[in-house]
């Protein structure tokens, strides 16, 4: 069953098109990967689904509700940037999330924080890049929603942090939720992803089921990337 449906989505910034007639339907219980070179429209697509970027044309909906600030109740999004004030402690950020998102589970957040080895009463400004990334993933996964989006969750972090994030995302996957992850770390993502969307200049150029690919062609995601982008 589909939850997020996108029809002919176009986003233009002056003369440039970040997304060009993008259409897709995301199914429940699937883990999607959004792959493409820098500037291919991955972040714009995620931000448009979350309602942060407004489309130039096209239609987007989640469970037949048009995307707006209201649909953020059904979608959890982890952006690349650190959106929280770094002078706050982790517990203050958790309090803000508890007050703001009805679906945010403090109990679940504490559990994930423990797995992620993050301190509760330290200020975020003292955190390393990896710790900040782990916190962002925690805040996103501690919500109980249908659609999760992670924008570059493995970007610029150490191997241990990568492993922690990857394992936590895998352990939190349920049949009722859809996960969309954008990443350049192809080797690490290969085991998590089920379906991969290849973007180029805002256009969907390939949509591949990884399991089928492994069975029929015995190719890795990285070799497929080289093939798709003809590098």
């Amino acid at each position: 069953m589909e939850n997020v449906i996108i029809n002919n989505l176009t986003k233009g910034y002056f003369k440039k098109r970040a997304l060009n007639n993008f259409s897709y339907s995301f199914k429940k219980g699937m883990v999607y990967g959004l792959i493409g070179p820098n500037g291919s429209g991955k972040t714009t697509l995620m931000k448009t689904i979350y309602g942060l970027v407004k489309p130039t044309s096209g239609k987007l909906s989640i469970n037949n509700d048009k995307i707006s600030f209201k649909t953020r109740k059904n979608i959890a999004f982890m952006p690349t940037e650190d959106v929280f004030m770094s002078s706050l402690t982790v517990s203050k950020v958790l309090n803000f999330y508890t007050d703001t998102f009805e679906d945010f589970s403090l109990e679940k957040a504490h559990k994930i924080l423990e797995n992620m080895k993050l301190p509760l009463n330290e200020k975020i400004e003292t955190f390393s890049t990896g710790m900040r990334m782990r916190l962002k993933v925690t805040l996103c996964l501690a919500r109980n929603v249908e659609f999760y989006m992670f924008d570059e969750p493995l970007n610029g972090i150490d191997v241990i942090s990568k492993d922690l994030i990857k394992n936590t995302i895998i352990s939190m996957t349920t049949e009722d939720s859809t996960i969309l992850i954008s990443s350049h770390a192809l080797n690490e993502m290969e085991l998590i992803l089920e379906q991969v969307l290849f973007l180029n200049e805002g256009t969907l150029i390939r949509d591949i089921n990884l399991e089928e690919l492994r069975d029929t062609e015995n190719k890795s995601l990285e070799s497929l990337y080289w093939e798709v982008y003809n590098v």
């Binding site: 931000k47 942060l52 407004k54 600030f69 952006p79 959106v83 004030m85 803000f96 007050d99 703001t100």
Partner: protein, 233 residues
């Protein structure tokens, strides 16, 4: 909206701490000055008044700067990721500014009055006479009118910043553009509303307050609509 206001207040903690330290230093200076001289030094209160003026200026600039940073920096956009409407978000930022402005006014007023008693106890009698005279009643109305005017000034700046972010974000010299947008908006609002509302509002202060509150709410609503439908974060 209460949690958004609470969150906005956390952002201003640093500015209020700095102002608090400034007032404490000034208080120590007043105590020191009055303890070494036997005659009343009226200039001390003049310096106190200057400090209040400086703190208001710092408050106004810091509020505008905080808002501008929140709108333009992606690393401060947490509130824009919440499931609240643009109008709720913008109103929370606006109300925080107004509440903190009132708190700053009341605290500095109490501080100034207490010191005025301390420096010259005779002032107490003139204040009591003023309170008995009931003249403060019209002064309260003037205070509310001033507050509403300051509120409309802030909402005009907020709207100008959002218009600049929404439609003119690629241009350079953003501060200059915000000022130009603000001047144009101010002209437009004057043309549409002011001349007509002046006819009603000249009748009473109450009518003036209602007119200003109406225009302020309209500006906040337009800002909220832009955030929900046109602005990219």
């Amino acid at each position: 909206m209460f949690n958004l206001i609470k969150f906005e207040m956390l952002k201003r903690k640093k500015m209020f701490s700095i102002l608090g330290v400034l007032f404490l230093v000034m208080q120590a200076f007043i105590i020191y000055e009055t303890s070494i001289t036997s005659t009343i030094d009226i200039n001390i209160m003049g310096k106190g008044f200057l400090l209040i003026f400086i703190s208001y200026t710092v408050f106004i600039f810091s509020s505008i700067l905080t808002f501008s940073k929140d709108i333009n920096s992606t690393d401060r956009s947490l509130v824009f990721m919440t499931p609240y409407s643009g109008f709720t978000i913008i109103s929370s930022k606006f109300l925080t500014t107004i509440i903190l402005g009132i708190v700053l006014f009341l605290l500095s007023f109490m501080w100034f009055t207490a010191n005025a008693f301390y420096v010259d106890p005779q002032i107490k009698f003139s204040i009591l006479a003023y309170l008995e005279d009931n003249a403060y009643f019209s002064d309260i109305r003037i205070f509310i009118l001033a507050l509403a005017s300051i509120g409309s000034f802030f909402s005009l700046i907020f709207l100008s910043i959002i218009i600049t972010k929404t439609f003119l974000s690629k241009l350079k010299f953003k501060t200059l553009i915000v000022i130009i947008v603000m001047s144009i908006l101010s002209k437009i609002f004057n043309l549409i509303f002011w001349d007509n509302l002046n006819r009603f509002s000249s009748a009473s202060i109450g009518m003036s307050i209602v007119s200003i509150v109406f225009i302020t709410t309209l500006m906040l609503w337009i800002s909220g609509w832009l955030i929900d439908n046109k602005t990219d974060f």
